[in-house]
């Protein structure tokens, strides 16, 4: 089974070497692709030095565009599984085997590492938590099964999901929309419990104003997606 780790990174020269080393340690047979989303520091050089493959975006596309770059490569090169792991160190590579296992067992096409699923302990601030709960409820309703953590970026995708995301992947804040897209395309979604670390460098991109924009934009996108026809993997994205 050909495996690819997609590591989106923006100005993560400090955290990245450890993340790459930990992925290697967790699964030596997994290729690592760092997608440098227009960093101003030595993110790409650090990644080369750590032995990763590096796709350098000519300018910042945002997390969605960076992750889709990885899915496009995974699709073109015939990878069977792709795992998304953030370059800032908040996702724990030693837990990626849990995600892989859920796919390998054959029960799921798209696996989410959930901070709230049974066995995890994560306590975000109240406002953040309420936003996450609203989104989870909304998505659970649309998807037709209970999901606890729809904003987690720690995910694994099988071949079918890779092909779908190579052709269609939401921009800016993609996590929630990607779930709805996958569900509406008939893919099976599963959650496995994970724990996350405090980010070892950099800071959250979420400010109060952006949080409001995020909620409104995601709800609009989910609503539109529910109205539209089901996307098919072979359609080009333009």
């Amino acid at each position: 089974m050909k495996r690819l780790a997609i590591v989106p990174a923006l100005n993560e020269e400090l955290a990245l070497p450890a993340v790459i080393a930990e992925i290697r340690a967790a699964d030596p047979g997994m290729d690592v692709l760092v997608v440098d989303d227009g960093s101003h520091d030595a993110t790409a050089e650090v990644a080369y030095a750590a032995g990763a493959r590096v796709a350098r975006l000519p300018f910042n596309l945002g997390i969605g565009g960076a992750v889709q770059t990885g899915y496009r490569l995974a699709c073109d090169e015939g990878y069977d599984v792709a795992v998304q792991i953030d370059g800032d160190g908040q996702h724990r590579p030693d837990q990626l085997l849990r995600l892989l296992e859920a796919i390998r067992a054959g029960g799921a096409n798209y696996v989410i590492g959930s901070r709230f699923a049974h066995g995890s302990e994560y306590r975000p601030s109240r406002s953040r938590r309420s936003g996450m709960v609203i989104l989870s409820r909304l998505v659970s309703l649309v998807v037709g099964r209970r999901l606890t953590d729809t904003t987690s970026g720690f995910r694994a995708a099988d071949r079918r999901t890779i092909e779908l995301f190579a052709a269609h992947y939401p921009h800016d804040y993609p996590e929630v929309e990607a779930l709805v897209l996958a569900a509406r395309s008939g893919l099976r979604i599963a959650e496995v419990p994970v724990t996350m670390r405090r980010r070892s460098s950099g800071r959250s991109s979420i400010t109060p104003l952006r949080a409001v924009y995020y909620m409104v934009k995601v709800m609009l996108a989910v609503g539109v997606q529910c109205m539209g026809r089901r996307p098919r993997p072979e359609e080009p994205s333009t």
Partner: protein
């Protein structure tokens, strides 16, 4: 023909001429010029047909004919803006896809260079010979000199 009508028609013809000139010099694509040409033609038509505005106002049940003018102008501007927003969305999707393809090609190029010649073309003796052999340089230069 009153002076006012004449002025309107002359202005519109100037606008049409300017748009056609922009298209001819390839600074404006036809598809983006169509709406403006239509507007300029509209101004000519309403300039020459002095009861036209009153006719349109009656058609839409507007009591005060100049209001019909404002309605038409507003609709035209909304159409132009929608057209531009749709165009921007399409272009931004294209830029997005191009950036991703560029990043992937860049990655592949680096991988291939790494496998082939360590990233340095001189490291491959055959390539180095082609690049630096003086006979080769003369051969490449010669035809250019003859044409001059």
């Amino acid at each position: 023909m009153t002076r006012l009508v004449l002025m309107g028609v002359v202005l519109s013809v100037l606008v049409i001429g300017a748009i056609l000139a922009l298209i001819r010099t390839r600074r404006l694509q036809e598809r983006y010029a169509l709406l403006w040409l239509a507007a300029a033609v509209g101004v000519v038509v309403f300039g020459l047909w002095d009861t036209g505005l009153g006719f349109v106002a009656r058609l839409f049940g507007i009591a005060y004919p100049p209001s019909a003018l404002f309605l038409i102008i507003s609709l035209f501007l909304v159409a132009v803006i929608m057209h531009m927003v749709i165009t921007i969305s399409r272009l931004s999707t294209h830029v997005h896809t191009l950036a991703q393809r560029l990043a992937l090609l860049d990655e592949r190029l680096r991988t291939l260079e790494g496998e082939g010649a360590g990233g340095d073309p001189d490291a491959d003796p055959a390539v180095a010979e082609l690049l630096h052999d003086e006979g080769g340089v003369r051969l490449i230069d010669a035809p250019g000199r003859r044409t001059r």
